[in-house]
Subunit: 230 residues, 2 copies
């Protein structure tokens, strides 16, 4: 029998933090899941996450669990909703502060930790543990809203990318199609892209221009109150 050393005058729920990690494979948005090794929901897929320690914030917890379970270090996570349905965990009353982050697929090394981690395309995601199906739906909605106002999409691309890759990303997230020329014009007019290398003189038409995201320009524009929109 285990000791139950932490006693309170009133019942306390347990608190967890979960992480919805989005990636991009060039065509589809993917989400990073881990396969549960223990009950409940043993064998089912779920988001990385776990119980909050008494001396860490929800965000610190999310980042710690993420590293422990997938090897991802120093990931900027952002909380998006707290789920508190009464029976969402069969063990005891658990509320979870759900976070999301955007990560390049390449950042997840296939180490020990990440043994059971896998990137699922959005249309291949199986039925998840706990209420994680619901959490995913909410996260996707939040991602769509967010990408319209902040250039978070760049966190999903390699440092240097082509305009077509960027367009594919936006189309994958928003599930719409853009006219290529209008997308080019709009993106370039925003002024947050820099050509990665001067286009060589001998560049053929077929060789696309490479861009990188210009943090400095973005910070500058943001301060003046600027709006990214699609």
């Amino acid at each position: 029998m285990c000791e139950q050393n932490f006693c309170y005058r009133y019942p306390h729920p347990a608190v967890t933090a979960d992480c919805v990690i989005f990636g991009f494979d060039g065509v589809s948005i993917r989400v990073l899941l881990i396969q549960r090794g223990i009950e409940p929901f043993k064998g089912r897929w779920a988001f990385p996450g776990g119980f909050m320690k008494i001396n860490e914030t929800a965000e610190e917890c999310a980042r710690r669990e993420l590293e422990e379970e997938t090897g991802l270090k120093n990931t900027a996570v952002e909380q998006f909703h707290t789920f508190s349905d009464i029976n969402r965990d069969p063990r005891e009353r658990v509320i979870t502060v759900a976070h999301y982050a955007l990560v390049r697929l390449s950042e997840v090394k296939g180490g020990d930790d990440a043994a059971s981690a896998h990137w699922f395309a959005m249309d291949e995601v199986p039925s998840l543990a706990f209420d994680h199906d619901l959490i995913l739906r909410v996260a996707v909605n939040r991602l769509k809203e967010r990408i319209c106002f902040e250039p978070i999409g760049f966190e999903l691309l390699p440092e240097v990318f082509t305009m077509t890759e960027l367009q594919n990303l936006y189309e994958a997230i928003l599930e719409v199609k853009f006219d290529r020329r209008n997308f080019y014009n709009k993106m370039l007019k925003l002024g947050i892209l820099t050509e990665a290398e001067p286009r060589p003189a001998n560049a053929s038409r077929r060789t696309p221009t490479k861009y990188r995201f210009n943090d400095g320009k973005y910070a500058e524009l943001k301060q003046k109150g600027f709006r990214l929109e699609f």
Copy 2:
């Protein structure tokens, strides 16, 4: 000495729900605060809120506490952020799921419950208990974002209102000034306003047209994917 009947193997934080309630007095945005009757922060002002019961969700808790402390019944609250800093409550580790709602000033009756409740104009809000100053800042930002995309503002006005009152509301929330004619045109073009009563024939110029918010039209437009913006 009190009994400590609820024991766990690991430490559990306490969980509360707090409510940032916004109102509008015709000129300024106001926020509903209650004066704390007990320690900690006895005598200081704070948001209505309190400890979550083990068999209620965070939202249910927010609504229950709101009614208990201010008499406001059946208020549609929406969670906007969970605050989990380690020392935000001197008693024990407490995380709070913060909610906000928009309410007409008139809905708060001066009953027993609300004895210590008071509507503060935003520029008169005193230094608050706990981390409620921070919570308020976050709530105001969220309100500004939200008002741009959903017509939540109407929840703050009487059922029937003039265009000028509506403009004052938007200007108070967003802290900007609009051109009166452009605001009129934009609002009317959205199609979510109905004239409350046909303007009497003898109406003088000086008698403003009264409008009401048209829920049906709004639901219709929303379904087609429509965007309210300012």
